[in-house]
Amino acid sequence: MKLKSYHALLLAVFVCITLVLPACSDVEAGFNEVCINLGDEPPTLDPQLVYDVVPMRVINAVFEGLCRKDKEGLPVPGAAERWEISEDKLTYTFYIRKDAKWSNGTPVTAKDFKDAWMRALDPEPQYHEPAFMANLFFCIKGAEAYAYGEGKAEDVAVDVVDDRTLRVTLVQPTPYFLDLVCNSVYMPVNKEFYDKQISGDISNYGTEAEAILGNGPFTVQEWNHDENIVLVKNDTYWNADVINLEKIDFKMIRDNTAAINSFKSGEIDMIEITDRMLAAELENSNCRVEAYNSGIVEYVTLNNEDPVLCNVNIRKALSYALDRKTLVEKILNDGSKEAYGFVSPIVAGYNGKFRQQAGDLFKDNDIDTARKLLEKGLDELGISEMPKIVFLVNDTELSKRDAQVLKDMWKKSLDVDVELQVMSFDAMAEKMMSKDYQMALLTWSADYNDPLAYLDVFSSKSFYNVAFYSNNQFEELLDRAIREIDDKSRMELLIKAEQIAMDDMAVCPLYFIANSYAVNNRVKGLVRGSSAIQDIDMYWTYVE
């Protein structure tokens, strides 16, 4: 019948479409070209307004602050050739190198840095919103007052001595200031280029490829929103000969399964690993599996003013009842380490790592002491039985996973009922700041490599102290450490401070997160650091 022939015709057409189709180029990235999964569309590429890891990966390649981080994450000269630190460690003078240039050839001057920093601190900026990370400048004299709108711009102690010299005066000796200076918010801005990008009452600076001018090793060639960002080598960069890569293609693949498929079919060169089996499979195919400690600590914050959790014994019971070893080895098994202290192992102490010197501050998986402590705590509070506790969890897959493990451990060991409440992070933040919570699962990462960045969580003056923990002895130790010039004694004071916090079990640390990832063998020299700005550093990357 006629219809049958109609079928055959249709089939023939369909087949030849699929045959004609595959006449196109090899998908393998070209020589000296790398393809990385950025993970999401960066909200902006204006260094002052950036606050999370995704845009910082691009900023790190396109801009360069006064200092830069080397492979081990220590600050090394960047746009500044050298610097001098005064006796009282309050005044820093930076000397900018002659051949430090913007990618359009104009030289980088001290004024560029001052303009950028003042722009970030401005409480009522005209063309953009206030910078999120402005609080990193508060160690500079007059900066905090200016940001609060009380002080004036002139009082901020940042002076341009001449075109290539910048002097900064701090409020108190800050050994980690050079570390701070590598952060994205400290990056310079070319004012003249910036003013050209203003249209109406909004500045397009940092929203499109053409509206970005950087002084780093790469420049933004193309930005297809939600699709990819293409960076090419910046020849005007002062250290251009060290850079080997010609082109970087940042793809934006949000779905984890899709990313894994792309990596295995060779479309992207690096993939985050969350599943042990995937790591095992990738090990024997042509890529290297590596892991690095991200400097992030996962912990349960306890509301110290909660009628039940105000009792230190109950807090200790909850902490000791957990079995961090099983959690890390059996559930996570991605290289993370159990945390028996709060400060991350990567933090530098006095000639050596702080964690090694401070050591483990408590033991866990000790069910009988935990039960005894629980009973003791309940007696002190005069209640017979442990009430149900509400546990806030944000809606990412990893925190939901960890929360379920903790809930099960507490149920099995102390027969304590914990009710999980899943909500978005900002809803949680609001509840925590208004003390309307009992327990919450949080992560803490430092903006600079110093124990203070972590111990800040316990100081009653810091607004990050959502545990509302206050201990005068701890405060006093912290104040002395801040003013202490000598590194050795400063570190001893900080170790004792952490000891006190952990004895009170203000928060219950769980583990130090390690990120494991796999890289295609053809890509060498790709560095992954612990601080956000150096999450992916392609300064030294080359392709075989």
Partner: protein, 320 residues
């Protein structure tokens, strides 16, 4: 025509007001999404975006801007206006949507036609089984499976055979025809089932209408009866449901765009609410009302063209 415009404006006003109230009663703020921001900086941010003003003042200010056609700037994507984001993202969703609708319509009609022509024979049962499955599988499962099989497994297969790293269908991305094939199939899979099922049942109804008996009495064979008389009538119910169906696909399906990382508008519907990007959510609602009403009007016009009973009033009848 005026009546339709008036009802469009009322619907638009209702949508904006309802969404404005809904989004405001969500806990949290757009600026705390990853890290807790310093309280002083938070208050500076709120003054900048006018969030500290009383509720009705914000509403009035937004309505004034809306009337001027300015949807404001996004609170998450710094200094990018909502309309520029929509203008950039919507064409991609539209492109994917149209391909999916065409594929679904073509295959759906074909399957529906064949199963109606060969009722209760083998073809009919196979096709109804296929349509039943395609309707029952959730979108994200179909998407993920297709990506896994067609993109990844295929490339591994080729690699093992030809030792050349060559992907016929790239896993993600949206440039070039090849990267559109698998997402289109995934998006069209669900719709195909609905179209085929609908056409099959409406064709069956039409086949026992009186004018079909007349057409057989005229001596037309089965194929002529179906193609000349039955098909046009059977398409009417399909047209009436196509309005909402097409508009939901055109505006981008979050699931498929998320799996295949397609830079479409679909993902913003979810992420803008989760990030509490107030201006973006309102902008999207306004835009979606516009699209839904536009497509409904188009389907009504199409319906009037196909069905003369709607177009020509019986009152100007001929003779007694």
């Amino acid at each position: 025509m005026l009546k339709r415009l008036a009802s469009f404006l009322i619907t638009m006003w209702l949508v904006v007001t309802l969404t404005f109230i809904f989004i405001r009663c969500l806990p949290g703020s757009p600026f705390n999404s990853d890290k807790m921001v310093h309280p002083q900086i938070l208050s500076n941010l709120n003054t900048k975006y006018g969030l500290d003003k009383p509720f009705h003042e914000q509403y009035l200010r937004y309505m004034q801007n809306l009337v001027k056609g300015d949807l404001g700037i996004s609170m998450i994507y710094k200094n990018r206006s909502v309309s520029s984001i929509i203008k950039r993202a919507f064409p991609v969703s539209l492109d994917l949507g149209i391909r999916a609708v065409l594929l679904a319509a073509f295959v759906g009609l074909l399957l529906g036609l064949i199963s109606a022509l060969f009722t209760n024979k083998a073809q009919d049962h196979i096709i109804s089984a296929i349509t039943m499955i395609s309707v029952s599988l959730p979108g994200f499962v179909v998407g993920t499976l297709l990506q896994y099989l067609l993109c990844y497994r295929l490339s591994v297969l080729i690699y093992n055979i030809t030792k050349v790293r060559f992907n016929i269908f790239p896993n993600t991305g949206w440039e070039g025809f090849r990267s559109t094939v698998v997402p289109t199939i995934a998006l069209a899979a669900g719709v195909m089932g609905i179209v085929a099922k609908m056409l099959r049942s409406s064709l069956k109804d039409v086949m026992n209408q009186d004018y079909i008996v007349m057409s057989r009495a005229k001596g037309l064979n089965k194929r002529e009866v179906v193609f000349r008389h039955a098909l046009k009538n059977a398409l009417l119910p399909l047209l009436s449901i196509s309005g909402p169906l097409v508009s939901s696909i055109i505006m981008g399906s979050f699931v498929i765009e998320n799996i295949f990382s397609i830079p479409g508008l679909g993902r913003y519907f979810v992420s803008s609410v989760q990030d509490k990007d107030y201006t973006m959510v309102l902008g999207l609602s306004v835009f979606s009302v516009f699209i839904v009403v536009l497509i409904n009007t188009l389907t009504d016009i199409l319906y009037a063209i196909v069905d003369p009973r709607v177009r020509i009033e019986p009152k100007d009848r001929l003779g007694a």
